[in-house]
């Protein structure tokens, strides 16, 4: 084509071309503006949090990282995140250890085992679990789960007590402990992990599954050779989504956990705390310094969540060439 103006060749008028250029420009500026706005808001939040945290940390008379107590409004302000960090990480870890395998199992059942007329309603049911409000989980946890945990905890105390972490100091107390919180969190993050992994499993190309079947794989072997490896990055991403929620869950933990400022490896004993729960319970009565101290702890939770996500990205990227994206 020799024409310098192909649009003319298609019969468009110059005016319309000008319009579409202007449309481009408007859209470009709009989307760039949105991007800039997002950055500004994020910077403002980070700046605000950091500034207030620094104020609090300057007045702290204890070590912020290793102190167990949280008494920022006392005459001699002392507060630290040791108990909160421990409780947050442990309860989230327990939640992950339970939720990930169960979620992968359910997702596989829905995507590869159940007949379609069962799979569809079942998938819907799991999605529905995600719509239950946190406070309802919290109420269910404290009114139903806690009273029904005693059988399990005394069994674990008897047979797994030698592990130290499952050794119960006194039996018969309500199980408002980190272990119960972990179980509750597992139930809460189950739907999101299941939903994401299910979609990933559904996207496994049929030809990879047939490749496995044609080699003489049973259904389970097909899942192991074609579906699970292909879905691995998706499983990791889904777990990170769930972990993010478990780390930050507030009201359900605050309802179930009987908090104190002891750092105990006995996971079946009541006590401990988490970042989000601590903020929720202390914020209302906190004095200005107490509020700044809580913000400092919120900043730490934010950093922990970022680190966890970063780690997941590294894991996924390391095996990128095997991800199947190239196929």
């Amino acid at each position: 084509m020799t024409s310098s103006s192909p649009a003319d060749a298609r019969g468009r008028t110059p005016r319309r071309r000008g319009d579409s250029r202007r449309g481009d420009a408007v859209f470009f500026n709009l989307s760039r503006g949105a991007g800039v706005l997002l950055l500004v808001v994020m910077a403002a939040i980070a700046g605000f949090l950091t500034y207030r945290s620094a104020l609090a940390l300057g007045k702290n008379e204890g070590n912020f990282l290793t102190t167990f107590e949280w008494t920022p409004d006392a005459v001699k302000p002392v507060f630290g995140i040791a108990v909160l960090t421990f409780g947050t990480l442990v309860s989230a870890l327990i939640a992950m250890l339970i939720a990930v395998p169960v979620a992968v199992g359910i997702a596989l059942f829905i995507s590869h085992y159940a007949p379609r007329r069962i799979a569809q309603p079942f998938a819907y049911l799991v999605d529905l679990l995600a719509a239950v409000p946190s406070i309802v989980y919290g109420l269910w946890g404290v009114l139903f789960l806690v009273p029904h945990m005693n059988g399990l905890t005394s069994w674990m105390d008897q047979y797994l007590g030698w592990t130290y972490i499952f050794d119960q100091s006194s039996s018969g107390v309500p199980a408002r402990n980190l272990f119960t919180v972990g179980i509750l969190l597992a139930i809460m993050v189950l739907p999101i992990i299941t939903a994401v992994t299910r979609e990933v499993f559904r996207q496994v190309p049929r030809m990879h599954e047939e490749a496995a079947l044609a080699l003489g794989a049973t259904r389970w072997e097909m899942v192991r050779t074609a579906v699970l490896p292909f879905g691995r990055p998706g499983i990791i991403s889904a777990s990170m989504l769930g972990l993010g929620r478990a780390l930050g869950e507030t009201i359900a933990v605050a309802t179930v956990l009987s908090t104190n400022s002891k750092l105990s490896l006995h996971l079946l004993d009541p006590g401990g705390g988490t970042f989000a729960e601590n903020i929720a319970l202390k914020f209302n009565e906190a004095q200005p310094l107490g509020r700044d101290a809580l913000m400092a702890s919120g900043l730490v939770l934010f950093v922990i969540t970022l680190l966890v996500n970063g780690a997941a990205r590294v894991i996924i990227a390391r095996r990128k060439e095997y991800s199947g994206a190239a196929a």
Binding site: L215, E221, Y322
Partner: protein, 258 residues
């Protein structure tokens, strides 16, 4: 090793629609048989009934008999998984496992069968890749992902993976249709070599390819859209392409079809 296939009265269904109807044929061991015919006449469907891959599609079923020497693949006590181990398959689009290295792809079938010994696997990898004419190109990067190879190399990798388990029969569904002429030639040469060990069935839309690689050719056709496909004739490739006994075959081959 290579076995005779004897099909009688075979029909295959997708749900309630019959895709192929009443097919009977005999395929000799250590020969190459080509399936030709217009699109939709059921060549792939028929091929997939020969290793019981048809039934993995929901709602799909098969009627009739497929004898592999003297065992009916559709007999009551026959395990389809075992059938697929002895009747290997190569697909139209190269489909190495994307999450596995070249090495792991080749031994995938053996691993499924429970072979673990490194020395055995090493030997099979070299032998199968040699057999698929791929060894020289990949011997220095066996631990690299299989998905990083060219399309033609990937298809030869899939052939290596299929022959690694030493099947009696090798089924190939348009194995060259996604490949360039040079890779196609490489695979045709390979088929010529493999037929000394395996019974080979190949679906192709390429008449020259059928004429070049096969000993026998089967022509399939269908009476019309929505009608089941049927076997029109099966004869020596030579005869099919020079002097077929059915007019429809001659029309199809000479391009006077439809």
């Amino acid at each position: 090793m290579a076995k005779r296939i004897d099909v009688s009265g075979l029909s295959a269904y997708y749900g309630s629609t019959r895709a192929i109807e009443d097919i009977s044929m005999t395929i000799e061991p250590r020969s190459v048989t080509a399936f030709i015919g217009p699109s939709g006449c059921g060549k792939s469907t028929f091929l997939r009934t020969l290793n019981r891959m048809h039934e993995v599609i929901p709602g799909a079923r098969v009627e009739g008999k497929v004898m592999l020497d003297d065992e009916n693949l559709y007999g009551a006590n026959v395990d389809p998984v075992a059938v697929r181990r002895s009747v290997g398959m190569v697909f139209q689009r190269p489909n190495p496992f994307p999450t596995m290295s070249i090495y792991d792809n080749v031994v995938a079938g053996l691993r499924l069968a429970g072979v673990k010994k490194k020395s055995v696997l090493d030997g099979v990898v070299e032998r199968s890749l040699q057999g698929a004419n791929l060894w020289n190109e990949v011997k220095d990067r066996l631990n690299k992902p299989g998905a990083g190879l060219s399309g033609g190399q990937q298809q030869r990798l899939c052939i290596a993976r299929a022959i690694a388990v030493e099947p009696e029969v090798l089924l190939m569904d348009e194995p060259c249709s996604a490949l360039d002429p040079i890779s196609t030639l490489a695979i045709e040469d390979l088929i010529g070599e493999l037929k000394s060990q395996f019974t080979i069935v190949i679906v192709t839309h390429n008449m020259q390819q059928a004429a070049r690689v096969s000993d026998r050719t089967a022509f399939f056709n269908l009476a019309g859209v929505g009608q089941p496909g049927k076997l029109i004739e099966l004869d020596d490739t030579q005869r099919i392409f020079s002097n077929p006994s059915v007019q429809a075959t001659e029309d199809y081959i000479s391009g006077r079809f439809g």
